[in-house]
Symmetry: C2
Subunit: 355 residues, 2 copies
DNA sequence: TTGTAAGCGTTATCAT
DNA sequence: ATGATAACGCTTACAA
């Protein structure tokens, strides 16, 4: 098999130059304190001189495991997951764990393939979004020889660990906020009905139904992926179906922003004639004019904690609490504050802040 | 070393069950047509029955290469890179290439580490953002034993291939658009001065300078990462420094949206008293009220082409054109259209579209 | 503290 | 078309 023209400096090269055996170099790399200071220094010098970098494939093959943490999210474009990913990367920094990202594109089949691919790499851990895995995927995960964290949601029967919150309750709280603000004919705008969206819709229904205020005609959804433009369209649909609607809970912030712009275009006063509440509380919501009420979710923290929990578990520090509920927070702002002095009709907004 | 309790079914297991040698199974997996139909079918059946999945580490070690495409971006939160990543994933779908993401967080040192880590994995290719690698990184890349695509920008001396556009020209065109629209006291709002931002600022200067309209006092920048909120703050700063400014070129769309909201808050008529132009043309820009002028960049296409180019090169299809300039497109909208009938002062906008 | 031997699961090479 | 054999670069297990 000879030399196939590989560039690499190997452990053996380093060992030879440093006048020790390969095993000592291997140890110096992973448990520096189990090697004499003298060897350690000599080895370190040679490594730098030769520019040695360990071959992860050889390592994985010999050790039967890797320091890879597989992360499976349904979207890489979505702001929400971008924040979660950043939290994961932040927590992984300075640790030996190497994050590897997989994008399931909201497809259960792609998700199953990803899990299979990740498992074939003998990962140290897996972080997977949601609690709605297919039966096949669930089977793989249940018998997986690594630690697993489910994120984004809490629910019963975790495979292992969980970091999330209740979307049902969060949506319920948002809807209650609209009720408390005095709105009565409340609509729901939703895009891409993934399982979390559906549970939010459920929370919406459960909040309005007992009060006799649930009107299915005010629920407007579409399978299309969400966008600001779509928020405008959904608002337009809602207004043509149920023109007397006086507030909307938007299933995410993009839709809420689009709904606000649509109101401004139509000279509908917000919050006077129409209340608007979003979901996630992206940075933009506070900066908008009028500022937009939303439900703050702790996305970055979710990623951070998922990774930290995994790290702790892998270090053998068993957590007493395998399911972490991060909660949420309704953030009331101008778009649902009827006590604000309404702007002129065509302004479509109020002054929420001094200039 | 015995059995360490690994879960895996191996090639040898499949070979034994199928009554052939390991090599035949290996061949059947990678070059099905170099194996008799009989063996092929028998092997396929056993693979499915046993649930065999190849071990990528063993494969990498034996073959000396992998089907990994390393992708290095400076941010995973930024919409722009999210779109590029989606393009890459889209183009990788259905190919044997496995995309692996690295986040350099705008740090040249982190970037160098990532390159080193990726190279240690013997990747089939590397996609790296920008043309401003450190000398150390450049050295690694020049002697890398794999194909390389630089994305986001075009420039001289590609390591190998390149897919991008000229940020300098794009910013110049945007500034020219503001001039053509009749604005004369034009400002620049910029956050995080990465190399691309700086080249955009350069394009801005080069456009205004010959006309004698460049006023450094109207250039407001900050090292902070960009956000909608920050766009408002920068606009506020600009107005206190140079209150007679009549238009701004914002270095990205978030800033532009924030600037627009700030104008609305202050009852500054847009586009009447203040023209606003963003950069990238995110989906939101068209949906805003008033709709916001921006410079469309082909982010998804950039990722798609980078990956396709790489795929073609790896298949041995040499491209005649190793540097692809995707260009850009100034998209004029309401925020720079002075011919529109101005809304009332406090409206801060115009009706860009019928309801 | 250090070294020796064996093998991890796959593919390249060369025969047959 | 198929197979025997020798690596690939590293780590586990055990011995010194």
């Amino acid at each position: 098999m000879k030399n196939r023209g590989r560039s690499g400096v190997t452990l053996a090269d380093v060992a030879r130059e440093a006048g020790v055996s390969a095993m000592t170099v291997s140890r110096a790399l992973r448990n520096p304190d189990r090697v004499s200071a003298r060897s350690r220094d000599a080895i370190q010098a040679v490594i730098e001189r030769l520019g040695y970098v360990p071959d992860p494939a050889a390592r994985a093959l010999a050790a039967g495991r890797t320091n890879v943490i597989g992360v499976i999210v349904p979207s890489v474009t979505n702001n929400v997951f971008a924040d979660v990913m950043r939290g994961i990367y932040d927590a992984a920094e300075g640790t030996p764990w190497q994050v590897q990202l997989g994008n399931s594109r909201y497809s259960p089949i792609a998700e199953e393939d990803l899990v299979r691919t990740f498992l074939s790499q003998k990962p140290a851990g897996l972080i997977i979004s949601g609690i709605d895995q297919s039966e096949a995927t669930a089977g793989l995960l249940r018998s997986a020889p690594c630690r697993i964290v489910q994120i984004m949601e809490t629910g019963p029967d975790p495979f292992d660990m969980m970091v999330g919150f209740s979307h049902r309750e969060a949506a319920g709280a948002a809807t209650r906020h609209l009720l408390d603000a005095g709105y009565r004919r409340i609509g729901f705008l939703g895009a891409r009905l993934d399982p979390r969206t559906q549970r939010r819709l459920e929370g919406f229904r459960v909040c309005l139904s007992p009060a006799g205020l649930l009107d299915e005609a005010r629920i407007v959804t579409t399978p299309q992926p969400s966008s600001v433009t779509l928020g405008g369209h959904l608002m337009a649909d809602l207004l043509s179906t149920a023109p007397d609607t006086d507030a909307v809970f938007c299933n995410n912030d993009d839709l809420a922003v689009g709904a606000l712009f649509e109101c401004q275009r139509r000279r509908i006063a917000v919050p006077g004639q129409m209340g608007i509440c979003g979901f996630n509380d992206l940075e933009m919501m506070a900066a908008a004019h009028p500022s937009i009420t939303s439900v703050l979710t702790f996305r970055h923290e979710m990623g951070r904690q998922a990774m930290s929990l995994l790290g702790a578990a892998l270090r053998g520090e068993e957590t007493s609490q395998p399911v972490v509920d991060l909660g949420f927070e309704v953030v009331p702002r101008a778009t649902t504050d009827r006590t604000l002095q309404p702007g002129r009709a065509e302004g479509g907004g109020v002054r929420a802040r001094a200039p």
